[in-house]
Symmetry: C2
Amino acid sequence: LVGKTINNRLEQQICFLVEVDKLKTIYRKNYVIGTDRRETDAEHSWHLAVMAMLLAEYVDDYPIDVFKVVKMLLIHDIVEIDAGDTYCFDQQAGVDKDVREQAAAGRLFGLLPADQSQELRDLWEEFEQKQSPEARLADALDRLQPLLLHYHTGGKSWQENGITSDKVRERNKRTKDIAIELGQLVEQVIQDSIARGYLRK
Amino acid sequence: LVGKTINNRLEQQICFLVEVDKLKTIYRKNYVIGTDRRETDAEHSWHLAVMAMLLAEYVDDYPIDVFKVVKMLLIHDIVEIDAGDTYCFDQQAGVDKDVREQAAAGRLFGLLPADQSQELRDLWEEFEQKQSPEARLADALDRLQPLLLHYHTGGKSWQENGITSDKVRERNKRTKDIAIELGQLVEQVIQDSIARGYLRK
Ligand SMILES: [Ca+2]
């Protein structure tokens, strides 16, 4: 990749790190606040990692392994480089999402040395299973972050995609079970979005 | 911000998290691989955090606190929301950079509750001082990441800004002192960039 004399392990790591640059070319449905362009997966992942640093304290069974949450969030969307961004409200595309993402995880994490490949695959599987406190917080933040962006962009993306408050509430329903204050925040943002006309009731 | 009933601490945290969305609107000099658009600070910060996860093992006095490195990198450019991106090869703009960034750190981290405000300020100051092993690794990665992107975009940004190999070598000279293999990688990328005509000797 960058010459033949660096060691094989480092070469695999750099190959992976160059490949995942593509996460900056995957665009999501939601807009960046104050702009008319959509957010990239890389930006979304950064934002989530910062949220985890600051909001982990709200998890009811705190302390949890916050670094694990951060690592999960940093890598949770990497499979979308091959599998694409499946819009969360799209039932159709959701059907073969699992198959596409498993293949993507195999190829992408497989670029790394075996130990790190396994570590990232395990983090991603744990995130996908949404069972551990760390994975449940990561999942709740992955739903809260776009909610905040939708709210602060006047619900533009909700309106473009005909999203109603029921769908948003359904999508964020498990947040209160992992962190009660974050669950209250979700409900307040939804209600205020309806009141302001950003979101259809 | 999002209603009046959420507690004050959470409101401050959300206010900060919404404010730092602006990191997605700060564009750097380097391009995203395979595109003709520049990278945002948020994307850069995400990429660095993933690099730290995978490359921390090369630090000569390993083990270090990898989570600290990741946290530093996630927040290291937030001051640029107010202070702007100072191009690393621009001597002129560098002069009042410190004053602008200190003011920015005060306002931005000051949005948070006092304890988290202090924690992030301390992380940022430690990063800026480049003394601890964690800060030195973070700094080395902050220089290695754009080097990899310059290389994989044919040196486009180097050419636009008249950058020569001496300047790139000078900018990355401390990497070998914190992680010898990463220092070798830097030198190989520079030499290969010259050989390929991406970078002027
Ligand atoms: Ca930087």
